[in-house]
Subunit: 358 residues, 2 copies
């Protein structure tokens, strides 16, 4: 069969999303969704939409959402771009700022989509291994600058460990790095410190873009809505040139605006998730499953060598009991499970199942 | 201010979407939306969705929609990719099959998004002017082959004239062209001949992909939903490698499936639009505004030199009366207006306004 694919695409294996199972009885702790649904105000907004509202093209710039996000964060609207989940922002950053054959910096391990999107852009990932304690190596910037990386991704809180880098350290990185620094804050709503807020610094920077998503913090993974925050000179080319002309549908724009406008509801859920995460971490550690202190809505638990089953076996055995967690076939993660924080009831069921298996 | 943009992006002006005006009293005949809303079955499907359904990630492959589309067209599901409007499919075709510096064939004029997406991919458009009667020149294939175009776009029915190329002529093009032939069928639901159907030919070809959209035919421009049909070897790399991993939200997948499943409703509307288009064409011609025989949901009308106002002036004067049509600042289109077919009432209002102006 004739193969028309570009060489970089033909080589590519493609990203494998975490399992999505429609079965409602499954306890799904594998893809970091929020255990709670979105605000009742989002439900109200949904009920007011009728198909007649969908006849015309939507607002191409998601103006209402961007106005609401700018108000929430104390920025200008032109420092915000709304995107189809965080994934679209990641892609647009590469499309706009990285030439084929240029390098893209990232840590190892990191969010597994970064190297895939980099390969689609026919650019080269520069993987800088994290230290044994999962912190950034001191020569991180030197390593990415040596390859003249046009752009560097840092997921913060980190996936899949949940570790958080503070603003001071990020400022040192941004000022010494040669290209654009993208800080993927998909999990930032779940940090213990509510004062951790990089927005004012980012919008006043020359080279920093933050990624936010409504998938985790707002219980709207099914809606596909995220946004980028940064200085206007980095946001505008994506907004006016490289994004698909109508990238977000009318329903998504309406619901996402309602969601971020109900901060009390969202913040109450964040606190519940944080409480449950800290409890889950503590119990897992007491059971002998070492966990790293997580600032995200998941914990990374290490299955001890002494256990009856390997991490990969436990993943399979839990799945047989309709409990899904995530196992990565990666050198430094093979003995670990990444467990999304569920409701109290889901977490208790998980702990009971794990206790029996260990 | 530091400018990090790639050279091809820095040069780019960006696509300018047609005006979207929220004002409900405006008669909006400028962006080829359907004058009728989507089916009551889509409304029912919408009303059954609650925000709890949005907590989890959506099906990454839009399986239910692709199953329904495959059934509708008599193809296999793996010959279909669902995309965020037709625009996402156009972008994915370039991302997957066109290297930077390669050429992309297209007619001149054509859908104005093609050269913009080509520039974003850092590829070079090869523009082949249509003949005076807006038909394809006989040496079209020779021209695109001379530049070894990796991919060629033909919008059929053509925008902005509404002309239709038949299957025989397209078969001759596809077999002699070197690269992939994309036939953009955004307007195909409005052809007079209900037997014009390229699907079986395309899925059995080596190099043909068809584009379909729910924006025009199904009254769902605000939903952003389209799809591609082609042989599996051309569809699979986009489906499994280059599209964003969760490119379509849960609501969109549900509503789009309901829409294409209600063919009687959609087809009734298509017939109403076709009737109104043929009537509008006839009346405009009687008024001295030459129109080309259109097979789409718009007509391209020429303002005669003898008229009191130029096309551009009439566009502005209609706008003052809250009637929006489209004027293109393009050599061969400057004396023309592209008018979307509205409801009978809207078309009558337009004709009355035009009569006063002429």
């Amino acid at each position: 069969m004739t193969d028309f694919q570009r060489p970089n695409i033909a080589r590519l294996e493609g990203y494998v999303p975490g399992e999505q199972i429609a079965e409602p009885t499954v306890i799904k702790l594998n893809t970091n969704e929020n255990p709670y649904p979105a605000s009742p105000k989002v439900e109200q907004a949904l009920q007011q939409i009728s198909v007649g509202d969908l006849r015309r093209y939507p607002n191409p710039m998601s103006d209402d959402f961007r106005t609401a996000a700018a108000k929430l964060h104390g920025t200008h609207r032109d420092q915000i771009i709304a995107t189809r989940g965080g994934d679209e922002l990641l892609r647009l950053l590469l499309t706009t700022y990285v030439n084929p054959r240029q390098c893209v910096g990232m840590t190892e391990p990191t969010y597994t989509l970064y190297p895939v999107l980099t390969a689609i852009q026919d650019a080269d990932p520069v993987l800088v291994p994290l230290k044994d304690d999962w912190s950034l190596p001191d020569n991180f910037v030197e390593r990415v600058n040596r390859h003249a990386c046009a752009l560097t991704f840092i997921v913060n809180p980190h996936a899949p460990t949940g570790g958080l880098i503070g603003q001071k350290a990020l400022e040192r990185i941004a000022t010494s790095i040669k290209g654009i620094l993208v800080i993927d804050e998909a999990y930032v709503d779940f940090t213990d410190d509510p004062n951790h807020d990089l927005v004012q610094w980012a919008v006043n920077s020359t080279n920093v873009v933050l990624l936010r998503t409504l998938s985790k913090g707002y219980g709207l993974a099914g809606l596909r809505f995220g946004y980028g925050i940064g200085p206007h000179h980095l946001i505008a080319p994506m907004l006016y040139k490289t994004k698909d002309s109508y990238n977000l549908d009318a329903i998504g724009q309406t619901l996402a605006t309602a969601a971020i406008n109900d901060q009390p509801y969202a913040q109450t859920n964040w606190r519940r998730v944080i409480e449950q995460r800290n409890l889950l971490s503590k119990v897992l550690t007491q059971m002998g499953l070492n966990t790293i202190s997580s600032q995200a809505n998941f914990v990374l638990a290490t299955i001890p060598d002494s256990a009856k089953h390997s991490a990969s076996e436990i993943y399979q055995l839990l799945k047989q009991q309709h409990i899904l967690v995530r196992h990565f076939d990666h050198d430094r993660l093979r003995d670990k499970l990444r467990i999304t924080v569920g409701t109290e009831e889901e977490n208790v069921t998980l702990i009971q199942a794990l206790t029996k298996l260990l």
